[in-house]
Amino acid sequence: MTSAQIEIQLIASLVAIACAIPGTFLVLRKMAMISDAISHSILPGIVAGFFLTHDLNSPWLILLAAVTGIITVFLVEFIQKTGLVKEDTAIGLVFPALFSIGVIMIAKNANDVHLDVDAVLLGELAFAPFDRLEVNGTDLGPKSLWVIGCILLITVALLITFFKELKLSTFDKGLAATLGFSPVIMHYGLMATASVTTVGAFDAVGAILVVALMIAPPAMAYLLTTDLKKMLILSVIFGVIGAIAGYWVAHWLDASIAGSMTSVLGVLFLLVYLFAPGKGLISVLYRQKRQRVEVHLLTFLLHLQNHEEESERHVNHLNEHINWQKVRSKSVLDLALKNNMITIEDDIISLTKKGKSFTSEAIDYIITNKNAAIEEMKDRFFLFRG
C-alpha cells in the first residue's frame, strides 16, 4: 500500500466514525430525513464560505456551513409548527430550495472556483492526500485528515460528556424536560454536531455518502442489538468496514470511492436486514412460521383433550379428522413428542400430564388474555415465545 492509499482509508474511516455517532441518535430519534436535508442545504454555506476564505478546509467555512445546517433544521421546524404541512413535507420544501441556491452560486462562479456539482455530490476522496498541511515547511499530512480528526475528537468528547443527557432526551423528551435537562439544547446540540460533521465529511465524501454513512451503519446496528452503547460501537465498526471495503472495491473496479463505499454499505445493510437474529426479515418469517405450527399444535392437543375414545386418537385418523396434510401432521406430532406432551402407543396418541396442563393453561390464556398469565407461560413452555 502506498502512503496515499493509507491516508485515504484513514480519512474515510475517521469520516465514517464521525458520522456514525450523531447518526445513531438521529436514527433513534427517527430523524434520518433531517440528515439528508442538512447534507444538501449546507451547500450554499460551503460555497459562500469558499468565496470568503478560498480554502475548503478553513474552520470559518466549516462554521458558516454548519450554521446553514442549523438554519435548515430551524426552518423545517418553523414550517412544521404552522401546522399546515407535515414534517417530511417541510423537509422536502426546505432542502431543495437551499441546495439549488448553492448550485446556482457554483454555476455563476464556475470559472474561478474549483467546485463543481459532481464533487459536491460524490466528494473527491481520491484527491484528499494532495492537499497537505504544512507548517514551516514540515509536512503534517493531508489537511482533510486534520479537519475530520478534530471534528471526531470533539464529537467523541461531547458524546462521553453528555451520554446520559443524550440518552434521556432521545428516549423521553418529557422526562428530560421535567428533570431540568433542556431537550431543546440537546436537540440543537445534536443538530449542530451533525451539521459540523456533515461539512467536515462533505469535502471528502460528498453529500450523498454523508447521509449513507450517518444512517446505514446505525440502522444495521439497531437491528442487531438492544443496548445503546453496543449500538454505537457496532455503528462505528460497520462505518469503518464500509469505508475500507468501499475503498478497495473502488480500487479494483476503478470506480468512484464514495460510490463504492455507499454500495458496500447498501449490500451490508441488505445482509443485516435479511439475517439479523431477532429483528431480521428471515428471523421474523421463521418466528411467524413457528407460531403457526404452535397454533396447530394447540389445536391438535385440544382435539386430544376433547376426545377420550381411542378411535379419535389414532395416528392415521388425525389426518382425516383435523384435515391436515401428512407433512403438517408429522411436524406437529414431532413437536408434541419432543416437548413430552404426548405419548404414542400402538399408534394411539395420549396426552401426558404435562400436555394436559399445558393445554388447559393455553386455553385459559387465550380466553382471558391476561398479560400476567402469559409471562409465566413464556418461561415454562415454548409456545408464545418471542
Partner: protein
C-alpha cells in the same frame, strides 16, 4: 392532611396554535392528597399536567410548586408520562429506564454510580419487577412497562407525583399493585395526582378529585364533590352514576 398547598395554579390559559385547550384554570392542591383528574378525551388533562411541569408554556397565568416556580423545584416533582409518549423499541433495559429517574438529582454531566443503581433496584423490587431488570423494554407487557415507569418515578423520591393515565392498558393485578403503591405514597405524606379514566373506581382509589373540561368544573374532596351534577357538567351528558360512596 396539612393546610400547606403543594401546587397552586393561577389563571392558567394554555393554547396550541392559538386555540385554547385550558381556559383560566385556578387550582389549589393541598399537600398529602391522592387526587384524580377526570374529564373526557381532549379535555386538556395531559396539557394541565405538562403545564404544571413547565413542559408547555402557558399564554397566561402561572403555576407554583410549594410557592415557587417549577424551575426551582424540579427535584420535588416526579412525572409518569402517558405510556404511549415514548418509543418502547429504544435499545435499553428495564433497569436502565428506572435509573433515568436518578438523573435529575445528579444534574448535568455527572454519571450514575452504585448508589443510583441500588436505588433503582429497590424501586424495581417495590413494583415487583426485579426479575425483569435486564430485559429489553420492548419485551415487557403493557402492564410491566407501566410498572417500570412507576419505578422510575419512585426512584426520584419526590414530594409530588404527577401521573398521566398510569392504569391505561394494564391488567387487574397491576392496577391493584399500582394503587397500593400510590396509597403508600400518600401515607408517607406525598402528594399524588393521577389522570384517571375509570369513574367507577374514583371513590375507592382517591380522596380528592378535579373535574376538568377545558375549564375547571370543580375540585375538592371526593366525598363532597363527586356527584352526578359535576359529572354531567364535565361530560356534557346527563350522567347518572350508581356509585356507592
Amino acid at each position: 392532611m396539612s393546610e400547606k398547598i403543594a401546587i397552586s395554579v393561577d389563571d392558567l390559559t394554555v393554547a396550541y396554535n392559538y386555540k385554547p385547550v385550558l381556559w383560566d384554570i385556578d387550582l389549589s392542591i393541598p399537600e398529602g392528597v391522592l387526587m384524580a383528574i377526570v374529564g373526557p378525551n381532549g379535555a386538556g388533562k395531559s396539557t394541565l399536567i405538562k403545564s404544571i411541569l413547565d413542559i408547555i408554556k402557558p399564554i397566561a397565568g402561572s403555576v407554583k410548586i410549594f410557592g415557587k416556580p417549577y424551575k426551582k423545584q424540579h427535584e420535588h416533582v416526579a412525572y409518569v408520562p402517558q405510556k404511549g409518549s415514548v418509543d418502547w423499541d429504544f435499545p435499553t433495559t428495564a433497569l436502565d429506564v428506572v435509573m433515568m429517574g436518578t438523573y435529575g438529582s445528579l444534574g448535568w454531566i455527572k454519571r450514575p454510580g452504585q448508589k443510583q443503581k441500588k436505588a433503582a433496584l429497590e424501586a424495581l423490587e417495590k413494583v415487583g419487577m426485579l426479575e425483569f431488570k435486564s430485559r429489553q423494554i420492548s419485551q415487557l407487557s403493557g402492564g410491566q412497562q407501566q410498572r417500570i415507569f412507576l419505578a422510575r418515578a419512585l426512584v426520584q423520591n419526590s414530594s409530588i407525583y404527577l401521573m398521566d393515565e398510569p392504569f391505561q392498558g394494564v391488567d387487574a393485578t397491576t392496577e391493584k399493585a399500582i394503587i397500593n403503591i400510590l396509597k403508600e405514597l400518600r401515607k408517607a405524606g406525598k402528594t399524588v395526582i393521577v389522570v384517571h379514566h375509570d369513574l367507577q373506581t374514583v371513590p375507592e382509589y382517591f380522596d380528592w378529585v378535579t373535574f376538568l373540561n377545558v375549564k375547571k368544573i370543580a375540585t375538592g374532596p371526593v366525598k363532597d364533590i363527586f356527584n352526578d351534577d359535576n359529572l354531567t357538567k364535565t361530560y356534557g351528558i346527563n350522567y347518572k352514576v350508581s356509585i356507592q360512596q
